[in-house]
Symmetry: C2
Subunit: 222 residues, 2 copies
C-alpha cells in the first residue's frame, strides 16, 4: 500500500514525534511505501491565498474556489500544494498525527486541509461524500490529548470525543470520500511514565502491522 | 463597551469584508471603542511555536503549555501575541468574522486561538469554563457558508450547524469563560444578489446597535 503520514507537532522529541516515527518505520518494515508530510519541519504555510496558485482566474476578486477550479483545469497549483496533492492522491491510507488543540486540529494541519483539499482536483463537480474522489482511500486520526479519557465521554468535563472529532471525520475526511478508521487516541502522554509510553508505541506498531485488514467505522452524521 | 472584531478572509471585497466593515463602522458610531484584528491584512502567522515567546523555560524540549505558563509569569510573550492578548483582555464583546471552511475556522483564525489563548494568561490554574478568566465577556461568531441553510439542519446534507460549531462555542469560547451570543449566519452570500446582500448588511448593523442588551444562548454540551 501507499501510506501518507502527516505530522503536526513542533517538537520532534514529543510523543507525537515518537508515534510518527513508529508509524513510519513500522509501515516501511511491513513493505508499504510511506510518504510523509512533517508540516513543522517543512515550514508549511497554512494560510490559504493567491500563493496557492501559479495561475490567476480573476485578478480583481479573490474567490478561492474559483481559483482552485481554474488551477485544477490548468495545472496551476503552486509547487508546495502540488507536491501535497500528489501524495494525497497516491495514498491508499492516510494518517494524521497531531495533538488535539482547542477541540480541533493545530492550525498548521487545518491549513494543510484549507489549501490542499482544492475544489476541482479534490472535491466538487459531483464528487462529494459517497461519490468523493477518495472513496477508495482510508484515513486514520492519531491524536494526543491534554486531558484524561474520563474528560472526553458524554457528560464528561470536555464531552464526547467522537462528537468533538466529527467535524474532522465528517466534514473533511468523509466529505472528500475517505472511509474513516477508528481513531488512535493517546490520553495525556505528558503524564505517563516512559515504560507505559513504550507500551503504547508497541501497541500502535502492532495495530499498524495489520492496518491493511482494518474495516472502517461508522461516523455519526449530524 | 470595548469590542474586538477579528476578521479571517483574504479578500477585502468579500461579503466577509463587508460584514466586518459594517460592524466596525456601526459599533464605532454607536459610541463603542472598536479594536480590530484583520488577520490577513496583518500577515498574522498562525503557526504556534517558540516564536510565540521572548522567554525560554526549557530550551531542550518544547512543550507549549510550559512555555506559555512561563511567559505569563515573566511578561515573555512576543510582541505580536502580546498585542492580541491586550485586545482580547480589554474586550467586553468579541466578534469573529469568517467563512466556514471545512466545518471549522480558517487556519489563520484557528492559529490565532492556538497562539493567543495561552495557558496561564488566558486559562488554567482553576480558570476554565464557568470559572474562566473571560466570564464577564461575550463572544459572537459571524460566519458565511458555501452551502444553503437547508444543508445545515439535522439530517441535512452537511448536518446540524449548531453541532458543527460546538467545538468553537464550547471548546474555545466557553472553555475560556466567554458567554456565547447567537451566531450570525450568512448563507451562501456568493449566490445572493447585491440588493439582498445590502439587506443582510443592514440587518447585521441593526442587530449590532443593540448588542449591549443581547442575552447569551445555551450551548449544548457534549
Amino acid at each position: 500500500m501507499n501510506v501518507l503520514i502527516v505530522l503536526a507537532h513542533p517538537e520532534p522529541q514529543s510523543f507525537n514525534g515518537a508515534l510518527f516515527d513508529t508509524a513510519v518505520s513500522t509501515l516501511h518494515e511491513a513493505g508499504h511505501h510511506v510518504a510523509t508530510s512533517d508540516l513543522y519541519r517543512m515550514g508549511f504555510n497554512p494560510v490559504s491565498g493567491r500563493h496557492n496558485f501559479t495561475t490567476v482566474k480573476d485578478p480583481a476578486f479573490l474567490k478561492l474556489q474559483v481559483e482552485e477550479s481554474h488551477a485544477s483545469e490548468t495545472h496551476g497549483f503552486a509547487l508546495d500544494i502540488e507536491a501535497e496533492l500528489q501524495k494525497l492522491e497516491a495514498a491508499d491510507v492516510m494518517i494524521w498525527q497531531f495533538p488535539l488543540w482547542w477541540f480541533g486540529l493545530p492550525a498548521i494541519l487545518k491549513g494543510w486541509v484549507d489549501r490542499v483539499f482544492a475544489m476541482g482536483r479534490v472535491y466538487g463537480y459531483g464528487h462529494i461524500y459517497d461519490t468523493g474522489r477518495f472513496r477508495d482511500k482510508r484515513a486514520l486520526l492519531s491524536l494526543t490529548t491534554g486531558g484524561p479519557a474520563e474528560a472526553y465521554v458524554p457528560g464528561g468535563f470536555n464531552g464526547d470525543l467522537d462528537a468533538i472529532l466529527r467535524p474532522i471525520h465528517r466534514g473533511m475526511l468523509q466529505f472528500t470520500g475517505f472511509s474513516v478508521l477508528q481513531p488512535a487516541v493517546h490520553w495525556q502522554p505528558a503524564h505517563v511514565e516512559p515504560a507505559a509510553r513504550q507500551d503504547w508505541l508497541d501497541a500502535w506498531a502492532e495495530r499498524l502491522r495489520h492496518i491493511e485488514q482494518e474495516a472502517p467505522i461508522e461516523v455519526g452524521q449530524y
